[in-house]
Structures are given as C-alpha cells and as structure tokens.
C-alpha cells in the first residue's frame, strides 16, 4: 500500500470539480462500496476500483488520479452511477477526470486516434467509392466520403 503525505492533497482540485454544475456534490459518498460491488470491470480486474477513485477524489489526490491508469479502465457502463445510494454521478465524474487527464498528456493512443479521425473527417470511418459500390449492391443509398461541413464546424470551435 502506498502512503501519502498531507502535502499531496490538493483541496483546490476538489473544490474545482465540485463546482461543476453537471457533476454536483460527491462529498456525500460514505464509502459503502456499492459502486465497486456492482462494477463489471472490477469483477475481472480488481486493479480497477471506482470506490478508490471516489476516495482519491474526496482527498484531493490530483496527480495520482490524472497521471495514473486507473480512470482509463472505466468502461463507461454507468452501473456505479445508477446504483449509488447517494446519487453521486460517479461515471460522469470519471469521464470528466479523463478529460482533465488529456491535458496532462495522459490519453491512451486508441482514444487520441479517434479524436484525430473525427477532427479530420467529421466521422470515424471514411466511405470510399468501393464502400459505396458495396452499399449499392446491398441496395443501400450512397453516402458522402466524409462529413465535410461537420469537420469544418468542429475545427472552428
């Protein structure tokens, strides 16, 4: 087990996340463990533990959360959030932590690749001439190669 010093705890980080409207409070978490008990990822790999993420957040272990691998093992299934007796938005919080981790250069390659594809094409897969021929053969309407207008719009933001 790792030990932490009080200096590792970042209370500004806790306040900052709690101030976000779409997240609301998470200090109501009383560590009952319903999140971890129902987690399908935890059942196959107990390195992943949503209760630990919640406790790390309440303590303000910013670095540990944003630079570690744990948050990326969440499969986004929303079971913990659905089951939480205190209505803590656990999955939304973890997704927000993933957003923040990206700014710390902690993004799995598979995720950043999808972002690049989307920004370059407006969608993940290009539909080329060959695809459209196959689509026509299956009686399906042809589609544009990429979502050009969306690509422009996403890059304007």
């Amino acid at each position: 087990m790792r030990t932490f010093s009080l200096r590792d705890l970042d209370s500004d980080f806790v306040d900052e996340i709690e101030s976000l409207d779409f997240i609301g409070t998470f200090r109501d978490c009383y560590a009952c463990g319903t999140c971890t008990g129902g987690c399908p990822v935890h059942r196959v790999n107990n390195d992943y533990d949503p209760l630990r993420i919640m406790r790390m957040l309440v303590l303000g272990l910013r670095e540990e959360l944003l630079k570690g691998e744990m948050i990326w093992l969440c499969s986004d299934c929303y079971t913990c959030q659905e089951n939480c007796p205190m209505e803590v938005k656990i999955t939304d919080i973890i997704n927000h932590l993933k957003n923040l981790a990206t700014h710390e250069d902690n993004t799995p390659l598979g995720v950043s690749t999808q972002k690049k594809l989307l920004m370059d094409q407006g969608k993940i897969y290009i539909i080329d001439e060959f695809d459209n021929k196959k689509r026509a053969k299956a009686g399906l309407p042809s589609l544009p190669e990429m979502a050009e207008e969306a690509r422009k719009l996403l890059n304007k933001r």
């Binding site: 093992l73 299934c77 929303y78 957003n99 390659l109 995720v111 969608k123 544009p144």
Partner: protein, 290 residues
C-alpha cells in the same frame, strides 16, 4: 410513422447487415425512414477527452433532424446514449446550449430541443407494438433459446435515457419472444460487453466479453441477440479474435435483433446479411418452423 435514420460511423462501413436488416424489417412494419446524408459522428468517441466537442457533434446531428421536423431513430446504443445525453445537457444548462448554438449558427443550424430521440428497440416496442410484430411473423422460431443482451447506454443513466426499467428491463425480452424464441435469464445480462475498453486495454475488453459469453452459454442459450453497433462488433468480430488469440472455440454466436426478427418474418437472408457476420449464424435457420 417517419423517422430520420441515424446510422453513426461504424454501420455504413463495417456493419452493413445491421442497416440492411433494419431497413427491411421496418419497411415490413410500415415505418418510414429518411436519410440525412450530412449527419456526422454521434460524439461518443470524444466524451472521454473533449466533452464540449462531443456535445457539439451530437447537437449538430439533432439540429439537422429538427430542421426537417423529424424525430430520430438510432441503431447503436452508445450513439443513442450520447444523443440523449447531449439533448439533456443542453436542456439543463442554458449556458452550454448557448455556446453550442453560437457555433451551430455558423452553419445556419440551431438546437431547439423539440425532437424525440428513439432507439430502434423502443420504436418497435412503443410505436409499432409487440402485437403488430407478431402479426407479421410468418415463420416463428421453435425451441430456440436466446441470451438477450440489453447494452449499457440504453439502460443507464436511466433518468436521461428513459428506455426501460434499468434494474429489471423486459422490453427487449418481449421483442425477442415475439419471434417465437425463448429469451432466457442469465445473470450477467445487464453487464457491459467490454467494447468501450477496446483500443485502451484490449485484454480487459476481451475478458469482459468472454465472461458474458460463457455465462450466457452456461445458462443454456443457443445464440446471443444484440441491438447495438459496439455490442455486436464485440460479440462478433472481437469474439472471433478471442477464439484466435486465446484458442477458445466460439463460445456463442451473436445475431442482431433485426436479423432475428427478419428471419421469422420470412425476409430473404441475403437482405438480412446473415453471411456478413464474422461468426457463422446460418444454423439458426434450423430453428425456424415450416
């Protein structure tokens, strides 16, 4: 009954059988589909790294459907969850809605929030009805046991997606049983398929899929039935990968719901794209009554 058909990125490129079987089945049931070719990515792949861009991508799709005065039908559950989330977030947070609409305005679009977003299964259950489906079933399945896989983002978070009871859903089971098949109980039926972890931690993703497939098989299922792009890629393409990499035999072949329904309606299997699945599902025809 008319809907804008939202396919997402994967279906037109990698899962054409989901599209062709859906069109065939809905056509048979009198549901009219409108294609909007300007649709883009649903936004789901961006939720992890850039929340606002994911909402913008989703909102652009919603605005395009609204512009034509259409409600939307979505085939993928992750896409459905994302579009519902964006719709909900913009209704709850006026400041977010304003930011998004300012950007959409550059393309002459606007999110008003007066369209309905429906998943294929909820259109079939709530708009078409199980009774109307039964009337179209000409060759019901006999003695076929199906493990019905719901998919996470149709069920949760329930206050946003509003699909069915998140703890004890029955909607999909009833649709499966309308084809004459038996929808069996299996313990992990509401669990994640593992697809969102593919590309992040492939082994963990495969562990989740394998565990579910084993459970479904042990519970007596002949096939698994799904109605989501990512779940199906996981239970078909990735299951094949599990067989190759881990030396396991195919645990349980997966069939898309409109393929299952289409067969029981007597629709040509080529239109349903049965041969386009990676794992052979042709054996399921043996369960059709004469």
């Amino acid at each position: 009954m008319k809907f804008a058909l939202f396919l997402g990125c994967n279906i037109p490129a990698r899962l054409k059988q989901y599209e062709s079987s859906t069109r065939a089945v809905l056509g048979n049931l009198g549901v009219e589909l409108v294609d909007i070719k300007e649709f883009n990515c649903c936004g789901y792949p961006m939720r992890n790294i850039d929340f606002k861009t994911s909402i913008l991508a989703a909102a652009r799709n919603l605005a395009l459907a609204e512009k034509q005065g259409l409600n939307m039908i979505v085939l993928c559950m992750c896409g459905y969850g994302m579009l519902k989330k964006a719709d909900h977030a913009m209704k709850e947070e006026p400041s977010l809605r304003e930011v998004i609409n300012t950007t959409l305005k550059k393309e002459g679009l606007q999110f008003r929030g007066d369209l309905e977003i429906r998943h294929l299964l909820s259109v079939l259950y709530n708009e078409v009805s199980v009774e109307a489906i039964r009337q179209r079933v000409t060759r019901p399945f006999k003695d076929l046991k199906i493990a019905t896989h719901y998919g996470c983002h149709a069920l949760r978070p329930s206050e946003i997606v509003q699909f069915d009871d998140p703890v004890n859903p029955t909607l999909f089971d009833k649709l499966v049983e309308a084809t004459g098949a038996q929808s069996i109980y299996w313990q992990s039926r509401l669990d994640c398929c593992g697809a969102p972890l593919f590309g992040i931690n492939d082994n963990l993703s495969m562990d989740l899929a394998e565990k579910k497939l084993l459970d479904a098989k042990r519970s007596g299922a002949h096939y698994l039935c799904d109605a989501c792009t990512y779940c199906h890629l996981q239970f078909d393409t990735v299951q094949e990968m599990i067989s190759t990499k881990r030396g396991e035999n195919h645990l349980l072949p997966a069939i898309l719901y409109p393929q299952l329904l289409g067969l029981s309606m007597g629709i040509d299997e080529r239109i349903l794209g049965l041969e386009m699945n990676h794992i052979d599902i042709s054996g399921i025809k043996g369960f059709l009554s004469e």
